[in-house]
């Protein structure tokens, strides 16, 4: 089962890793605009979710880290055992888990934003 060549997957892996570093840095810096404990108060958190650029930043963190993390997990698992059945199941499982995490995270963002569900 090969949808993408390994070099293409790894290119995505490196790009998502570097991009995640950038967006997470922005996310952390945003926490420092106001005192940290204050930034975690309910009203402030909900206010963040109503800020569309910030919502897009959170969504990009979610997508980038999910892709990078689950591909990393796939690579680790591939090295554990070498058989076609194992490799295919690891690939399918990590893709499904990645999509589930992205879907659940996106749902949370939409619910907190108050625009759906």
């Amino acid at each position: 089962m090969t949808m993408l060549r390994e070099s293409q997957i790894m290119k995505i892996h490196y790009i998502t890793g570097i991009a995640a570093l950038f967006v997470v840095a922005v996310h952390i810096l945003m926490r420092l605009i106001i005192p940290f404990s204050l930034s975690l108060e309910y009203e402030n958190v909900i206010a963040n979710y109503h800020n569309i650029p910030y919502v897009l930043l959170l969504e990009s963190i979610l997508v980038l880290i999910a892709i990078h993390g689950f591909n990393g997990l796939r690579i680790i698992l591939l090295e554990l055992r070498q058989s076609k059945a194992w490799e295919d199941s690891v690939t399918i499982l990590t893709i499904v888990a990645m999509m589930a995490v992205i879907a659940y995270g996106t749902r949370t963002i939409i619910v907190a934003n108050g625009s759906g569900f």
């Binding site: 060549r5 390994e6 070099s7 997957i9 790894m10 290119k11 490196y14 690579i75 591939l78 090295e79 554990l80 070498q82 490799e87």
Partner: protein, 276 residues
Amino acid sequence: MTEQIIEKIEKIEKKHEKKETVRSSIVLKVYRANRRAGESVHYNSIEVPVQRWTTVLDALLYAKAYKDKSIGIRYSCRMASCGSCGMKINGIPRLACYTKVSELEGSTITVEPLANFPHIRDLVTDFSQFFSHHRDVRPYIQNDEADIKDRAKLSEFMQSPEDLDKFLQFSYCIKCGLCYSACPTVATDTKFPGPQALSQAYRYFIDNRDAAGKERENIVDDRHGIWRCHFAGSCSSVCPKGVDPALGIQLLRGHLLGFSKNEKKVADLRERSKRD
């Protein structure tokens, strides 16, 4: 100014000089096992007289000749050219013929078979899988324009010194298997070609006489291929010929990711534009 520079260089050289310990004898702790005969792993300690220039292979051959004829060992050239006598010496993969006992610390030297290779007997390991990975990357020049059957069409492939420099370092590989033994990925992933095969893939990939770059790329661009290298760099640190397989792997990765410009394509386009 020049004197200061020379002094600095001398200081650096002194720092890097291998410490030599002169001893009259050493104890060789030899790994012994013959699993096929049901013999379990044990170590034999053998005292061997040594001189300043005695290599570990010399010491082993002395032990085999005068103390225990049954020691299983593979060797051939005794001058680091054939790559037969690779073994773990004090835990590090090295060539026995290229390691002087005076370079090693302690009066006991432990010799064991190479890790990551199926064990046969004593210090001898099976290289079949290693050579199979080497064969898989097609380590030879493939060029359809080279018609060796028709002598009239036989042409010389010109190569500039710059072109030669691109792969010369990697062509020094003697297939001793030390890099393969030191590789942490090979230890867990048996399908991983290993540093030797991957650096040879780069050696032929970058050779301007070869025309099968794409096919070679496809071979190494696999789930268990070049991307599984963790870049531990242990392959390069144990290489007795200074091949630096880790560098070859990173350079080939650069080509696969499209970071390195494909000089072969550029040269080909230049040649075509000249013809047109």
